[in-house]
């Protein structure tokens, strides 16, 4: 009875049930309700790389603020500062205590990050990535997401029941490093660059101009999509490598609609520091072009008309409403400390799960019918009792799984169906013993008792061994397999209960009410 009550929330009757009951019921696994299971690796080395780059930029900024004629540049894992003088050294040791002086040569000072600091950056990059992904998933709105780390630097994300899986993956995996860089239109190389190319031509361009790119500059591309023809092209930009401002100073990102063209754009707001930097940068570079770059893709490169105060900027590009919304989400939730590397992506559509459940139910009914009929034919009334125990068994199994809110997976369903066949095993053991006892000439009553007694330890041993397997499966298995382990494990206990107590009680009741002359077995 209890089993049925606890199972009810698993069915479509859920909404009409009282509140206290609704929190029970089995949860469908990803393989049954659809969704995505992603495993990402956080690239700790890359996070360190990005930090070093940022520190180098920040050192140069400090020099500029203090009107010191010096510059810092990242080279591999080092930061190279020139020229070599006491003023420079003093500034760095005061402002950047995490850097240690490695060597000096030819007027250049080489700094390195402390090992402790490197470890800290790596560790925190995982926490930070986890936090950022949580924020993004929250904003995206998924019913019951699971997000956790595994074996050190991996992040596991499970988003059950989502329909637009592609969008979710894009949203979660986007590094979202926003940068503002100046275009280097003065270089003669810039004039030689082709205006727009096809994506397949990008490597050729890189090769062609690679050697000519001035020091401290880089080539970046901007994607354009022609909405009418669907053709994608790239615009080539030559720009200064140093990023003048990044998304870390961002406080807000919202989608607005451009009244004139009726196109969405993302408006961003900087905090006080960011606003000051932005004002400075625009004031110093009027009439130059400023590129707005997200993950190395140039969104736009407008000409700075005048100094911009107030800390507001716009990111426009040829994107649709959905894309603009997602861009705002990733900007708001902050950038990932390093690009994520996808290790695993399992996407299940909702229809597959439905098909699987239907197939499972069908197989279950067929299995139950086969077993029931066979047992009655072979063991007559005793077989009927065993069938009754089997049905109880499955009912309890489903009930317990519902009551503890276990996750039902496809292998889990298979486990339940196999349990139908195995549930009668204990009874078969006893019945065969009883038949032997009867053959020895014992009365039905005595045969039942000694049959039970002799079969007990056998049944016990066989259940313990199955339990060992269930525990191992639970320990080593992932997702769907864990579901199988749970059904198997719970099944063992319930089977032991129904076989040893359930069936025995029925036999006892029958034999105590009537003086049995013959045992129908």
């Amino acid at each position: 009875m209890l089993s049925i009550i606890f199972y009810l929330p698993s069915t479509h009757l859920k909404s009409s049930l009282p509140d206290w009951l609704q929190k029970y019921g089995m949860v469908l696994g990803l393989d049954l309700q659809g969704g995505v299971h992603l495993v990402y690796e956080v690239d700790g080395d890359k996070a360190v790389d990005i930090t070093i780059e940022r520190i180098a930029a920040s050192i140069t900024n400090t020099f500029n603020d203090k009107k010191i004629e010096a510059r810092a540049e990242k080279k591999g894992a080092d930061i190279i500062v020139s020229p070599d003088n006491d003023m420079v050294k003093k500034t760095i040791s005061e402002q950047f205590p995490n850097l240690s002086l490695d060597s000096t040569s030819e007027g250049r000072i080489v700094y390195k990050l402390d090992d402790k600091e490197i470890k800290r950056i790596k560790d925190s990059s995982i926490d930070q990535a986890l936090e950022t992904i949580r924020n993004r998933v929250d904003e995206f709105g998924v019913a019951e997401p699971t997000i956790h780390t595994q074996s050190g630097n991996e992040i596991v994300i499970q988003l059950p029941g989502i329909k637009d899986t592609k969008r979710a993956i894009d949203l979660v995996g986007k590094t979202a490093i926003l940068e503002f860089k100046l275009l280097d239109d003065e270089s003669p190389v810039a004039a030689q660059l082709p205006g727009s190319i096809l994506p397949s031509e990008a490597p050729k361009i890189m090769e062609q101009f690679g050697a000519q790119i001035p020091e401290g500059d880089e080539l970046l591309f901007g994607r354009n999509l022609n909405k009418e023809t669907g053709v994608e092209t790239l615009t080539v930009y030559l720009m200064k490598k140093q990023s003048l401002l990044t998304g870390e100073f961002l406080t807000e990102a919202r989608v607005n609609i451009d009244q004139r063209y009726n196109e969405p754009y993302v408006s961003i707001t900087f905090d006080a520091t960011g606003a000051r930097l932005f004002e400075q940068l625009t004031a110093n570079n009027v009439k130059k072009r400023l590129a707005i770059i997200l993950d190395n893709n140039v969104y736009s490169a407008p000409v700075i008309q005048e100094k911009i105060g107030g800390g507001n900027a716009q990111i426009s590009g040829s994107f649709g409403m959905q894309e603009a919304k997602d861009l705002a989400i990733v900007l708001r939730s902050g950038s990932l400390p390093a690009p994520l590397k996808m290790l695993q992506n399992v996407t299940v559509g909702p229809s597959l799960g439905r098909d699987s459940i239907n197939a499972g139910v069908k197989a279950g009914i067929v299995a139950a019918l086969l077993v029931i009929v066979f047992m009655i034919v072979y063991y007559k009334v005793s077989g009927l009792i065993a069938d009754f125990a089997m049905v109880l068994n499955i009912l309890y199994l489903v009930g317990v799984l519902s009551a503890v809110g276990a996750t039902l997976t496809l292998p889990g369903i298979a486990g339940i169906i196999l349990a139908i066949g195995m549930a009668v095993d204990s009874n078969v053991l006893m019945f065969e013993r009883m038949r032997e006892e009867l053959r020895l000439g014992k009365t039905p009553r005595a045969a039942i008792d000694s049959g039970y007694d002799k079969a007990f330890w056998t049944i016990f041993d066989s259940h313990v061994t199955t339990l060992i397997v269930a525990i191992v499966l639970f320990q080593f298995g992932t997702g769907p397999i864990k579901g199988f382990a749970v059904t198997l494990g719970v099944g063992v206990f319930i089977n032991l209960f129904t076989a040893l107590i359930g069936t025995k009680t029925v036999f006892d009741v029958i034999s105590s009410r009537t003086e049995m002359k013959k045992l129908s077995i």
Binding site: E41, D355, Y378, E436, T458, A485
Partner: protein, 302 residues
């Protein structure tokens, strides 16, 4: 109704034939394990790494059309599998892609060039990097080893050590035999099959325990008879039970095999095989080992 009554089959007399079969099956099974560890067996993408996409069409679609559409989309190195009756096609590309996330997208977009959105649904897509595949492979191996050690400990605790050896060898044999059949049929070995193998280990053991229990009980009471006789009698006594439960569990597995859907199809097949070899091994593998390892009197004592 009774199918078997008072059988008197000389099981132990046939044990050398049986041991020969066992040896062959186990050898092929071991070969399969070697092939798996070398990565040359037909491993599922969860172990080998790669991409699998399952598409459901609204009508029957010729495989060569699908192949053509994919090749035109610039995809090479893939296998197609038809799941007839359900209008489903499984695309498998077992190549450890360095950059995950692109291939399945490419496959789907290549197909949507040819088939309209209403005529096909992406049932599932799975992409697994080589690193994860390797980890899952080691995990699966440890799971099998842990299960077998756990079982050995329990049986040794409940019976004598030689029973433990017998049960463990029999269990190992069953796992290897099912693997061997999968290998010979060229069927895919994946994570779900490994859980089937563990399940088979558990099932086979249950069966072995039942036989051992009876042997132990009879060794205590029938002191005058030789161990061979006692073992033969014991097996004959439990034969009926062994076959009946094998049969009911087999019914369940067969129902799964026929109606359970494509994901569970091979799993059910493995279980069916496991039930057959599990029953065989309790009689023809586990018991002979106990016999070979023990001298009459020593066995009878405990």
């Amino acid at each position: 109704m009774e199918i078997l009554k008072n059988t008197k089959i000389d099981f132990m007399g046939k044990m050398y034939y049986a041991l020969a079969i066992t040896a062959v099956l186990s050898a092929i099974g071991l070969l399969t394990v070697v092939q798996i560890s070398r990565g040359t067996a037909n491993l599922g993408i969860d172990f080998a790494g790669g991409t699998a996409v399952q598409i459901k069409f609204n009508q029957r679609v010729p495989l060569q059309d699908v192949r053509h559409a994919l090749t035109q989309g610039g995809i090479t190195d893939f296998e197609l599998q038809d799941l007839p009756g359900e209008n489903k096609v499984l695309i498998n590309a077992k190549k450890g892609e360095a950059h995950i996330g692109d291939l399945s997208k490419k496959m789907i977009s290549a197909l949507s060039q040819k088939y309209s959105e209403s005529s096909m649904v992406v049932d599932s897509s799975t992409e697994i990097g080589p690193k994860v595949g390797k980890k899952l492979r080691t995990d699966a191996l440890w799971a099998v080893i842990a299960a077998i050690i756990g079982i050995l400990i329990y049986i040794t605790f409940r019976f004598q050590f030689r029973f433990g050896i017998g049960a463990t060898v029999a269990t190992f044999h069953d796992v290897l035999a099912v693997l061997a059949v999968f290998y010979m049929l060229g069927k895919e070995i994946n994570l779900i099959i490994v859980s089937a193998l563990l399940m088979i280990a558990g099932y086979s053991l249950t069966d072995t325990v039942v036989v051992f229990d009876r042997i132990r009980e009879n060794l205590k009471t029938r002191l005058k008879k030789s161990t061979v006789e006692v073992i033969n009698e014991s097996i004959n006594e439990v034969l009926s039970r062994t076959l009946i439960t094998s049969l009911t569990t087999f019914f369940s597995a067969a129902a799964l095999f026929m109606f359970g859907g494509e994901v569970i199809h091979d799993f059910a097949f493995a279980i069916m095989l496991g039930i057959i070899v599990g029953t065989y091994s309790s009689i023809f593998v586990a018991s002979p080992i106990v016999l070979l390892l023990g001298k009459d009197k020593v066995l009878a004592k405990k």
